[in-house]
Assembly symmetry: C2
Homo-oligomer: 418 residues x 2
Amino acid sequence: MDVKQYMVDVGQKARQASRVVAAADSGVKNQALLAIADAIETSRETLIAANAKDLENGRSNGLDEPLLDRLELTPGRIDTMIEGLHQVAALPEPVGAITDLNYRPSGIQVGKMRVPLGVIGIIYESRPNVTVEAASLCLKSGNATILRGGSEAIHSNQAVAQCIVQGLSSVGLPETAVQVLETTDRAAVGELITMPEYVDVIVPRGGKGLIERISNDAKVTVIKHLDGICHTYIDDQADLEKAYAIAVNAKTQRYGTCNTMETLLVAEGIAEDILPRLAATYQEKGVELRGCLNVCALLSDAIPATAADWDTEYLAPILSIKIVRDMDEAIEHINQHSSQHSETIVTENYTRGRRFLLEVDSSSVMINASTRFADGFEYGLGAEIGISTDKIHARGPVGLEGLTSQKWIVLGDGHIRQ
Amino acid sequence: MDVKQYMVDVGQKARQASRVVAAADSGVKNQALLAIADAIETSRETLIAANAKDLENGRSNGLDEPLLDRLELTPGRIDTMIEGLHQVAALPEPVGAITDLNYRPSGIQVGKMRVPLGVIGIIYESRPNVTVEAASLCLKSGNATILRGGSEAIHSNQAVAQCIVQGLSSVGLPETAVQVLETTDRAAVGELITMPEYVDVIVPRGGKGLIERISNDAKVTVIKHLDGICHTYIDDQADLEKAYAIAVNAKTQRYGTCNTMETLLVAEGIAEDILPRLAATYQEKGVELRGCLNVCALLSDAIPATAADWDTEYLAPILSIKIVRDMDEAIEHINQHSSQHSETIVTENYTRGRRFLLEVDSSSVMINASTRFADGFEYGLGAEIGISTDKIHARGPVGLEGLTSQKWIVLGDGHIRQ
């Protein structure tokens, strides 16, 4: 197969289909989502058989256990896929809303209409349920989708794709509105991210390495999520109980998520009152502490942090802790070391809270709440396609609205420009 | 000078300054804009002397007359710069608005705050007044700016930069909030567009060639404006007077602007009623007509259009005309050939107007209005930094809001994730 020609063909079909789904009624899109759910329900055996092939190949290719686990389609995971489709169908329609329609001095009315982005390319790794999650969000937001899963999940993804095609065609939408690539040739990714004439946005879902590679080579906008080096700053006017609860939750509720705290900053005036108690809890939970010199002097369990610690996303039970003079030093540290994902201040001081919100330049800035709240579901987006650490288009959790844009509409009555 | 080191230094200063202007009070930013206006007023002689050097060099380097004209700073153009600064100061504050702040089931409040993008790089050609226009919009929206004007305007731009520095420092804002590059080395552009650690967005203002080059090489998001191949479709249920007025205005009010109509589509049912009258007016105004075979059969003045005509932005008194069967064919033609800038339908038919708005995928879609309205001032943005033909972030005219983004804010009272 000529990969370039294959991808151009896929791209052209996606572009054509995108015009149809962009103009499709909300009801039709929702019927398609429910029909896909039905197709998955009746294809359980086929899905599990296809997945078994992938698992077998994975084992003989020596994939490690965590990867095999992510690859596996259990009956429970199929339930979750079906439930997810019902949930997305129930979300409010993201497309078509006309806002800010006002008369201008010239007599024309000018407003904005929310519209799909067009064609979205999704590049992801082993979890086959991403195929349905991503396809459903893109379809609901009126976009055509090109999905490129990992080669280790090719049989599972193709079986899921069959269900999607069934669902789409049962309501009269083009089957090419969601295309799962049939090739595992790596060159296909290179084509996908460099055909702006057919693809409007790329959403990579995977490790930092994958995302960096794609961002470097892409000629299409990438909605990307890199590090989550999140900070909690405990101010000297913090409520100690709130500070304790938040600092424990932000680090230990889950270690491997991007909104987990990686660095704790504590005002010197309150350090002795809060740090020993926190350290005891962290020790109990098996969290390794790496501190600045003042922290090490205060906490016998802490080992000295190196310069690299302040810039590291551990995704593990490790925490760096620094004692700072005041909020100014905390903000300075955050602006220098944060990945601009999520930061929180714990304080009862009104003025400092107000300043922190304004001056910290991260996609989520919080007062007296755990950074673990930075999540599309917690924010009420209903679902999320990813979390953006960019500033352009969408920051933070990206839901259906992040898969749309706004065009201008102008209504006149024969109006001409003077 | 080591260009790379120089640009890193400029970038670092811009990043630092961006934190200060991002948090600056609205009143201080406005005072700075007015102080820059005052500095320009008192520096008229210096500006004109610096500009004279550029003009002299331009003449000896053989610049053509249109370029020299664009380069010239006349007293009237200095008036316009001063007036522009007063206008931008009077615009509503674009930064800091908190919207959609709602309680979530967990008890946290989640909302969005409008924030500056950070550091904006502007790359432009000969007009020195762009220096002030761009700097004022970026400052008002709380961004730091790095400006890279053309080498032919270096003395003028440096003189303008002096006025900007005076204005900034008179109100205590960092002088580095607006930096005009002191080098004309082309390598500086290469650095500017590939340092995402210091620059958040690039706005190129210039010809298509410049913009394409920058887009190809940039590692930073580019808010770009490429072609404006705008269409007017006259439906067979159009009001003939409105159709006549709009088709004349959209083509002939100005020829060189991106929102000028380049292709006229006419429903076959109405072609004989409207085209001869339009053709007479176009001929009177010296517009060359290039038509499909049916148009050529109807209009003796029209010459046959080639395939390339349907994809050409003439920016000149030339118009391509095609007779189409109906609106479906018109939309198909637009979706295939348009640059997704601005399109209009002339019709009295409610259903067709409604469909055209939904199905045409351009940054501005109009009913019964001239495409020439696609403009930041006409849309009420107060000012525009450019027009985007991209779908991401901002489509169409980009005003102050397009130079901002939204971050999430979370307010809690010791809330932790369950």
